[in-house]
Every structure is written in C-alpha cells, then in structure tokens.
C-alpha cells in the first residue's frame, strides 16, 4: 500500500522521470485514498433528510414447491418455501418444508435463521431448526451457507447439531434452464445426511434421504408459475432399511403438479 515498497518507489521515480523527459511536467502524487471515504463524523443533512434511501428493508416469500405428487395408492402434498425480511446485509430467514401423506405429516423441517451477506453471491445463515410434524420433534442448531454458485447454480448447505448431540447436514441445489423466457426447466435436489440413525424419524446414519424433482414451469407472470414435474422422494442406505422395517414406502418416482409463487 505505502510507497515504502521499493518497487513502487522505483516505478514512481521512473514514471516521474519519463513524465519530465517527455516534457509534460506532471509529477504525480498519487494518494491511494478514496475521495468519498467514510468520515468519522457523518454529514449533517438539513432536517435529517437522507438524499438516497439505500438502507431499506424488504419482505419476500416464495413457495418453490407447492405440489401434489400423484400415486395410485394416494396422493401426497409437498411444500418447500422460504421467506425473508431485512436489508442488504442482515435478514431474518424462515424456511419450511414438509410432506402430507394420507393425512399424516412427515419431513417437517422448519428453520428460523439469521442471514448475513458475506460476498457478492453468498450468505451465511445461522439459527434453529425444528423437525415438527407427526413424528417425534427434534431441535437443532443450524449453520450454513447459501447463495449463487458459478454458472448461476442455486446452492445451499447447512450443518446441524441436535439437542442430543447428533450432527446432520443438508445440501440442496437447483438450476434454471430457460427453454423460453417464460418456460423454465428446473432440476432440483435435496440430500440429508445424519451421523446417527433416528428410527423414530426414519433417519439413517450416512446419506439418509433424497428429495428431487425435475419441474417444468410456465411463468404466467413472474410471481405465479404453474408447473408439471417428475419428483423422487426416497430413503437410502440405512434409512432405507429402517423404512422397510416399518413397512413404509422406501422411495418412489411420481408425477406431480404444482405452483411456484412468490411475493
């Protein structure tokens, strides 16, 4: 930064010499200082009126999934949504997902997170997760990262630690392929990992379950897009055995219909 660095001094000296030699007597005194650097004492505006309102807060919510998943034996209903309130750096973030099958709710995962913007495209998130459905209730501390990866790939990864000392991880990603400006194909997948099995919640150690979909939506308008989809929801490895032992569905591909909407 400082001119104490000898290469910089040398460069400056050379430049100055060149400037003098070429007849444009212009000895530069470059100061690496922004003319608009923050000052210790803020400017006092007349009537305390700020001339630009760049510290606004905004409220948005979205249902990425709000869908019926058809099967001959009975149709499941699935939602996955989130909402946030806040400004450019600090937000309160709410996530909720769950599945209703035959009147019974499963995979209920609800999170309340503080979200901090840390770079152009990434946010850190920390808070609590509640597994709240018709199974046993679990409480977790949550910490994760969420944002837009290279190639505009939406990505989030969250690590959890439960009140019983267990660990879990959830990784989710999606991508929007624009077939036209309104017809959009979105592959999406969510993976859950646990360090220990939890038979009551049909969670197995290791990679436990997957929920994925290939959704084709049509944006009637930006905030309202009906879609058709092929979805897969299933248990893997140890969790698969647990589900089978409980005579439950271990995984199925289903045709789904839904609406993506936001405000």
């Amino acid at each position: 930064m400082k001119h104490a660095l000898s290469p910089a001094v040398l460069a400056l000296a050379t430049l100055s010499f060149l400037a003098l030699a070429s007849g444009t007597a212009r000895a530069d005194q470059t100061v690496y200082h922004a003319a608009d650097a923050p000052e210790a004492t803020p400017v006092v505006y007349i009537g305390n009126i700020k001339p630009a309102m760049d510290q606004g807060t905004w409220l948005h919510g979205i249902f990425n999934q709000f869908e019926g998943r058809y099967a001959p034996g009975g149709t499941d209903f699935r939602w996955d949504g989130e909402a946030w309130f806040g400004g450019d750096y600090n937000k309160i973030w709410l996530k909720s997902e769950g599945t209703l099958e035959k009147g019974r709710m499963s995979d209920g995962d609800h999170e309340l997170l503080y979200t901090r913007s840390i770079s152009s495209y990434w946010n850190l998130q920390g808070g609590v997760r509640m597994d709240l459905d018709d199974g046993p209730t679990r409480t977790w501390g949550a910490f994760g990262i969420q944002g837009l990866a290279l190639y505009e790939f939406e990505f989030e990864a969250t690590a959890y630690v439960s009140d019983r000392g267990r660990f879990a991880t959830r990784v989710e990603g999606s991508y929007d392929f624009l077939l036209t400006n309104r017809l959009i194909l979105q592959p999406q997948a969510e993976f859950n990992f646990y360090t220990k099995s939890d038979v009551g919640r049909q969670a197995g150690a290791g990679l436990s379950d997957v929920d994925a979909g290939l959704r084709l939506r049509y944006e009637l308008w930006r905030k309202f897009a009906p879609y058709i989809a092929v979805t897969y929801s299933g248990y893997l490895t140890q969790a698969r055995r647990i589900a089978r032992d409980q005579h439950d569905d271990t995984g199925s591909v289903r045709f789904s219909l839904g609406v993506r909407s936001w405000f």
């Binding site: 922004a34 608009d36 650097a37 450019d88 495209y121 837009l148």
Partner: protein, 618 residues
C-alpha cells in the same frame, strides 16, 4: 367507456389523436391523460399579463409548444392527479395536473422567482436540472433545504446565468419516477444562433402503473424481473448462427453464466411495464408537431425518464445537433443519437417535403419506443420504422478492453487480486487526457485514487482494462449504417470559462451488484460513504471508471462537468455525463459555488440504492 369516451371525442381533434391498432391492444387499450386541459392552463402560468394575453398559440400541456414569452415569475402547483395512459392508471404527483408538467420559459440574465405550492400530503421539492443556482435553491431535500411541506409554498429565487434547454423534476422520494417533471427553456440574452421557424420541446419519458417501491422490491428479489429477452434454448440457434458455430455460442453462454451475469442485461426496467412517452403521449396517441415544408424546426430533446436510454432517429431527415445539456455546440449532422437519462440535445431539422416524418425513440433494450410525428398537416401519421436488433453486452462492457469475444473469458477471474492494479493507478495519472499545451506548466497534482474496487457484497466485478469509449455512440449503435452521435463530436462554440489545469484528480469507480441490486461507487453505497470535499475555487478532474456492465448517466448538481473529449479548451459543458460500461472518462469541474451538492447516477433506482454521493464545496 362512458365518460372516457366523451373525453376522448372532445379532445380528439384538439390533440390530433389517431387510433392505429399497431400498438399492442389498439383502441381498447388506449386512454387519455385526463388531467389535460383547463386545469393545466391555470396551474402554471407566468404572472406577467402579456403572457396571458397572447393567445396566438394556445398553451397546451404536453403539446411540446413553448410558451410565447419568457417570464421571470411562475406559480407551480404540485398535486395528485389520476392519470391513465395506455391502460395504466396512476394517482401521480404532478405539476399543474399534467405529465409532463408545463414548460417554463425564462430569459437569461433575469432573476426569476418561482412559487411552488405543495398540495400533496407528503413533502415535495423541485430541482432545476442543470441550472447553476446557489446551493439553497437547488431543490434537493437534505442538501439544499428541508423540502416543501404539505400545504406550504416555497419561493425559489435565483439569477439565470445560462440559456438553453433544461428540465425540472422532484427530488423527493420517487415522485419523479411517477410523473413530477417538466421542461424549462431559457432564451439567450443575445440573439439565438439557433433560432428556427418552429421550436418544440420533445420530452421523452416512461409511464407505468407499477409503484416505484414495488419495482425496486421486485428487482431486489429477482434482478432480471423485467427482462423477457434473455438467452434461452429457443434463442440458441440464432446465437449459434451469429457466433459462427454452436460451440462458440455455447462457450460464450457458459462464460457469462460462470460470471453469474447476463449479456442480455441492457435495462433493469423494460417495456414489460413501461409505455414510452413523447410529450406525455403514448405512441398510438401520435403527438404531432407542425411545420411548413422548407421551414427550420428546432427540437429540444429531453430525456426525463426514470431508467431508459433512448436512441432517437427521424427517418428521412438529417438532424443537426446544435446544443448538448443546454450549451451550444458546433453543429454536428447525424442520423441518430443516444440520449441518456437526464441529458438534453437540441437538434435542427429542415423537412423539405410535404409529408409526415416520424420522431422515433427506441429504448436501448428495444422493448418499446416513444414516437411522434412532424407533419405539415394535422392528423398525419408517418410510418414507424421497425425496431433495431437489441444490443448484447460484450467483453468491452465487462471492462476487458478490446479483446475479441471468447479470447479472454476463460482467464478471467472476478475475484482475482490484481496486484498489478496499483501500477495501473499510477498510470492513470499519466493519462494524456485533454493534453493541450496549457497543461505544460502544470503544478503538482494530487490524485485521489481509491485503487481497484473490492469484490464484495456490493460489487461483483472490476473493469480490468477500462477503455476510452467517448468515440463510441454506445452499445448497439456501432456500425449500424447510420451516422450516430458520439461524445467526441461535442465541441463547444466558445472556449471554457476556466482554462486552469486541474490541481487534483478524483478517481471514482462506478460499482454495483446486479444480483443483490445494490449500486454505489468504489464498492460502497451512499450510506457507507463520506462526502466528496472540494475547496472553493478548486479545479478538479473527475475520472470515472465504470466497473459495471451498464451505462450510468452521472449528474453533478450545481457545477458544470466539462467533458474531456479531446476538444481541448472547447470541451463541452455538461450536467449529465454517460459513463459507458467498461469505460474510463474524465471531466473537469470548477468548484465555484459553495454548498452541499448531490452527485449521482440519474437512473433513479441506481441513485436510490446507493449510487449517490454528497459533494461539499467549502
């Protein structure tokens, strides 16, 4: 349609309206500015009697017709008016019940007083764009004064040192985005070298029924919310043809998506919600200006829009550009020019034929156009040309200089720490901008160089090799087969008033994060930055490096921006300077008026979301 129909038929002949169905929904979609008419006649009148007595040319709001006489006293009433245009209804803040507000005409050298009465239920203000006033008359709440409270009347009083075409608008909240704006014409004290047989104001703007707050909110959630011209699977064959091969088109796409940016990012807000207007008329309302063949017609173009750059042509007519931002320039004959938000250009045309000519102003993103007609008789319509292909951003816009597409993108790492950049900073000082011999005995110059902007929450890229683009008419206009105006062609008709070389250079990077929709300078938004302090009488060079991939029309209040475009002492005086994406340009400023001044991007949503600084002259 009952009352509306009555209004329509009543004003039909009066306003030369016609009903072509070419514009989207056609007849059923078009409505009319309800506020127009008698109310507007009373709302903003010069208080001298001679102006009232002259009825040869009726004062019609939005007519583009300049009042017959200047006045040094005006009364303006700011209020709400319910306005429908192109099926979009808004309870808009207006001056004199019309959008645009009335044209004010002044005379150079007069000390004018303007009474602005606020009948809104919120504070308002009027800023005189490009007018050099004392700081307390500049009309920016917080900087100039406390605003005009509801029910209050504020009297602006200042001496007009300048002449030419200017405009006024609110600087409170987002009132300007909703319709609080209008034109100003100042007669020169000496005979006008550009006097013409006919003289019209052509005020370009947009109209929408979406509230500004909602637009910003939507952009915060999804930055391409209003862009329906993105690259898709459906558009791929066309891109492959243009790129030469599918592989090249795919590589280009991957490069853009790797950067998490879009080559189709031309305008943040588009014709998806905007109806583009000319003197408050939607295209199908066919604003008309009359001429007799052979007459010289002066058209005073003002871009009073919120977010839209316009590319203006009058097919079949050569336009002689004679004034830029209110200041006379050596005439430049062109077929087309781009006008950035808040800029003004005066052009002279001389239609020889007994036929109608279209004034055709395409939005830069080609999602719509404003249009009107110059015609020898009323009710004539000129054919509207097809819109040009929309521009796509390239490596030049990314600040990669003149590299060929595809040549460089693989090596580009947005987060790379450019250790060599400091050196570039030093080199910047060596730039031979406006290098005339008067600069020979230049004293030591201080350079405020912030260095390359950080890549952070508020900034997503750096222009690694910003280039001088003053010779370019702008994206989408290069090599289009027409003569298109560029900044280098602007040459003042007289040398500058202050020929001192600058003693300080202030380098500013224009930055932003499209994804989060945050804008700023040097990687910071307004609320995180200090003021730019200038010493009274100081001569300063402002150098703008555009690290974003959009144009930014940068407006400095109260002081002239003398564009260093290679014209030496005849550099043009501007109040609003377009910084093209990936470019570096500079202008000189004499800080001769003390006070707090606004300095900002005139794309209003960029301004409000942080591309704003306070300049303090003491």
């Amino acid at each position: 349609m009952g009352i509306q129909g009555l209004i329509l038929s009543h004003f039909r002949g009066f306003l030369l309206m016609t009903f072509p169905s070419r514009f989207r929904g056609g007849v059923t979609r078009r409505r009319f500015v309800t506020g127009i008419g008698a109310g507007s006649l009373l709302a903003a009148l010069p208080r001298t009697s001679h102006a009232l007595s002259s009825t040869a040319v009726p004062l019609r709001a939005s007519s583009g017709i300049i009042p017959p006489h200047p006045s040094d006293r005006w009364d303006m009433k700011v209020g709400h008016t319910r306005i429908s245009l192109d099926g979009k209804t808004m309870h808009a803040p207006t001056v004199g019940s019309t959008v645009p507000g009335p044209i004010l005409r002044f005379r150079q050298g007069d000390t004018v007083s303007i009474n602005v009465t606020n009948t809104l239920d919120e504070p308002t203000s009027i800023h005189w764009h490009g007018i050099r006033t004392p700081a307390n008359m500049d009309g920016v709440p917080g900087l100039s004064f406390g605003g005009i409270a509801p029910g209050e009347t504020f009297t602006y009083r200042f001496k007009l040192h300048q002449s030419g075409t200017y405009w006024y608008h609110s600087h409170s909240g987002m009132q300007e985005a909703m319709g609080l704006y209008g034109a100003m014409v100042i007669d020169p004290r000496h005979p006008d070298p550009n006097a013409c047989d006919r003289d019209y104001v052509i005020f370009l703007a947009e109209w929408t029924d979406v509230m500004p707050h909602d637009i910003i909110s939507n952009l915060k959630m999804q930055d391409d919310y209003y862009v329906f011209r993105q690259r898709t699977a459906a558009s791929f064959p066309k891109e492959a043809r243009e790129a030469g091969s599918a592989g090249a088109a795919l590589a280009d796409r991957l490069a853009w998506s790797k950067m998490r940016m879009a080559a189709t990012d031309i305008a943040d807000v588009s014709g998806a919600i905007y109806t583009y207007t000319l003197n408050g008329h939607a295209p199908d309302m066919n604003w008309s200006g009359l001429f007799r063949p052979g007459e010289k017609v002066r058209l005073r173009f003002i871009n009073g829009s919120t977010m839209t750059f316009f590319d203006v042509q009058i097919p079949g007519l050569e336009m002689l550009v004679v004034q830029a931002d209110g200041n006379d320039i050596e005439p430049v004959p062109v077929d087309e020019f781009r006008i950035g938000v808040a800029e003004t250009y005066d052009v002279i045309v001389q239609p020889k034929d007994d036929r109608a000519y279209a004034i055709f102003a395409q939005s830069e993103d080609r999602t719509g156009y404003a249009s009107g007609t110059l015609a020898p008789h009323e009710s004539m319509i000129a054919p509207i040309p097809p819109m040009d292909p929309r521009p796509a951003r390239t490596m030049v816009d990314m600040g990669m200089g003149n590299m060929k597409p595809g040549e460089s993108m693989k090596d580009m790492d947005m987060s790379a720490d450019m250790s060599g950049m400091k050196m570039n900073g030093d080199m910047a000082g060596m730039d031979m901008h406006g290098m005339d011999m008067s600069h020979m005995a230049m004293p030591k110059m201080e350079v405020n160089d912030p260095g390359p902007p950080p890549i952070n929450v508020e900034n997503q890229m750096r222009a690694m090799m910003p280039i001088d683009r003053t010779g370019s008419p702008g994206d989408g206009l290069e090599n289009n087969g027409r003569r298109v105006l560029n900044y280098r062609q602007l040459r003042a008709t007289r040398p500058g008033a202050d020929l001192r070389p600058p003693t300080r250079e202030i380098i500013l990077h224009l930055t932003g994060n499209m994804e989060r929709y945050i804008w700023g300078m040097n990687g910071r938004k307004f609320s995180e930055s200090g003021p730019i302090r200038l010493k009274l009488g100081e001569r300063v060079r402002f150098t703008l490096i555009n690290d974003t991939m959009m144009e930014h029309p940068i407006h400095l209040h109260g002081l002239w921006s003398e564009l260093e475009n290679g014209q030496g002492d005849y550099r043009p005086y501007k109040h609003t300077v377009i910084s093209q994406p990936g470019s570096k340009l500079s202008y000189l400023v004499t800080a001769d008026t003390p006070g707090m001044w606004a300095y900002h991007c005139h794309l209003l949503y960029h301004m409000d979301l942080g591309m704003f600084r306070t300049v303090i002259v003491t």
